[in-house]
Symmetry: C2
Subunit: 389 residues, 2 copies
């Protein structure tokens, strides 16, 4: 259901008329962010396979691919099905496989979608092989490589890597290639460390592909990616494909990492002042964790942004004004401790925009994007989001 | 969309057949939790006005009121509209008022719903008065009292309290009464402190009502509430109404506070093992923060439960097994640091249940409840949840 329809019977025409809390998407910033990484990858001769887990929107995907569907990455099979319904045919499902997802993935493959799955064990290889036979298709799978201890996958020198390659062959599964994700890069915040993380990711991926090829396995795709390493990689020799998702919107965590400025952050939560506690230096707004998410990703960074950084309704940041606490439908806005800035004088009913810590988490709290441009208060469109699994 | 329909074309009949991640609701535990607080309030002669912000489900509300709609509390006007559509007529919207919500609330009142709003300033009194006149209804408003510095409201001895009462009268708004919420009780964890917090909440509410009555304002309702204080209050003299929401489901935060046992927690997230890292002591499951929420409410408690406590598929807790880290669609399950317990041997495809930190936040990540009973693996029903604002 469209939220503005829900409230008013028709879509709000301006930011000022929008019911709050609402998720705003600045399409000029989105376009700039999309162009920045696609030119960077084009220069390096690497395919960009955007991760749709952040946006979960066909309208955003079409903004990334204005002249027709291209390769994408997804985090759920519901995303795969949604984007397939909208014409995307080259999809990598980048979460480890279980029996029920293997069967469901093969149904999509049977329907003509080149859906590739991810695994890191011989038992998963046998599982997807069986699912492929049951569906009457030849599965295609990536072997997950662990480049930094972040999550799943095998290290490039793990003998199990070759065993998985062998098991795939025996199970009748095509080896799509290897895939790795430098998830630990999110905790860095100097260019030197980010460049090193990108090189480490590349080196692990290339070493794994080399080990597989040395034992007779074709390994066509060498896929790496995280938004920080995608933007800081200086050399991608041997890499064929880059995955990233949050780069489309960016957020305060990515700003803390050093990948973007606050002016690049394309989404914000529009909120309304609903109370004041001047004796405590508090302004209460109607965006709590239900609208902002519980994500506190900047808490571990040099600058803790609370639950978000507060801007005026046009998007200009109030210096050091953050959402310092959040309950379900209330945000407490206050000046950052130690700052010399004063609390702005905002009356009940005033609107503010809040830049989020983590775009993936904040966007997932909303049904749709209210699309705006940089220099206008018009709501140009409502772009729905999909959800679920 | 019903998730099981989405995947299979028909609802899964058993827990084992359910696609994961999925939100399970044990209706026997729900019924027991509902009965516990309603008997307690009946004994004390206090009206229970359940807060629907946790469940957001007409099926759960009907479980609380099996013989017909009763009084409820809501956190959004979308909830008010949803429950009104399902026959609820006595609704308190317990979030501070803004101009757009005042107008929308009065539309519901015009439609015959006894919707009461909340405010703490003369300007909000004038705002709702104007909205009432515009809609052709007499508004009814609670004055919010601050009993513990948690969020909004006026202290009982604040002279502005009487000024708001006067402003309501001048604006043609009926004073419904006073309303307070002991939100700081969530950070306590001894019976003595909880009993004291409940008494503090009662005393502040009664003092505010007394101050209003002493200056000629009728103050029919004295409304207090939080799940911890509702269960620990020893004396509710002068209180007419109790509000609580999370008591229906309970969660690990409430367990840490000491209000419930883990056997009372009625919701859990069903997840599947999708990977293993034995050398790190990790099991990877397909429930990350998208399924569990980013809530880390137990981090500040004596026992940190990570992103949740892991049980077998029947609901039996694995001692000291927690979701230690979460990314969007991955949970890392590990034994709590310092524990002597061993990691259980769970194969790829095995299912587990995860008890959540915070029921409100975890439930809001899901479209529906898969309803189960204590001693059966049958899915008895799918109860949809509403969302948005």
């Amino acid at each position: 259901m469209n939220r503005t329809d829900h409230q008013n019977g028709e879509a709000a025409a301006t930011i000022g008329a929008l019911a709050t809390p609402a998720l705003l998407l600045d399409k000029d910033r989105l376009d700039r962010n999309l162009a920045r990484l696609s030119s960077r990858m084009a220069e390096q001769g690497v395919v960009l396979r955007p991760h749709m887990k952040t946006a979960k929107s066909i309208d955003v995907a079409q903004r990334a691919y204005p002249s027709g569907a291209g390769p994408i990455t997804v985090s759920t099979l519901a995303e795969a099905e949604y984007f397939a319904q909208h014409g995307f045919r080259d999809i990598t499902y980048a979460v480890g496989l279980a029996p029920h997802t293997a069967a469901r993935a093969m149904r999509l493959r049977k329907a003509g979608v080149d859906l590739k799955v991810l695994l890191d064990s011989p038992e998963q290889a046998r599982m997807v092989g069986a699912a492929g036979r049951a569906a009457g298709v030849i599965p295609s799978a990536f072997i997950e490589i662990d480049c930094d201890g972040h999550r799943g996958g095998l290290t490039a020198d793990d003998p199990k890597l070759i065993a998985v390659g062998v098991a795939l062959g025996e199970a009748g599964v095509k080896l799509a290639g290897i895939l790795t994700h430098a998830g630990e890069s999110y905790s860095l915040f100097t260019p030197e460390a980010l460049i090193a993380a990108a090189e480490n990711e590349r080196a692990a991926a290339v070493a794994a592909a080399k080990a597989l090829r040395a034992t007779g396995h074709e390994c066509p795709v060498v896929s790496v990616g995280s938004t920080p390493t995608a933007h800081f990689a200086e050399d991608l020799t041997g890499v064929t494909e880059m995955r990233a998702g949050v780069y489309m919107f960016f957020d305060l965590v990515m700003h803390g990492v050093g990948v973007c400025t606050t002016d690049d952050i394309a989404i914000s939560v529009l909120a309304t002042v609903i109370g004041k506690k001047p004796e405590k230096g508090w302004i209460l707004v109607d965006a709590g964790w239900m609208a902002l998410s519980r994500d506190r990703g900047t808490a571990a960074q040099p600058v803790d942004q609370g639950y978000g950084l507060v801007c005026d309704v046009a998007g200009k940041i109030y210096p050091d004004l953050i959402v310092s606490q959040a309950s379900q439908e209330h945000g407490i806005v206050a000046i950052r401790p130690g700052s010399a800035h004063a609390l702005p004088n905002l009356p009940i009913g005033a609107k503010v925009r809040i830049l989020p810590n983590h775009a993936c988490a904040t966007a997932s709290q909303h049904e749709s994007y209210s699309v705006v441009s940089a220099d206008s208060d018009a709501i140009e469109a409502q772009w729905p989001r999909m959800r679920g699994w």
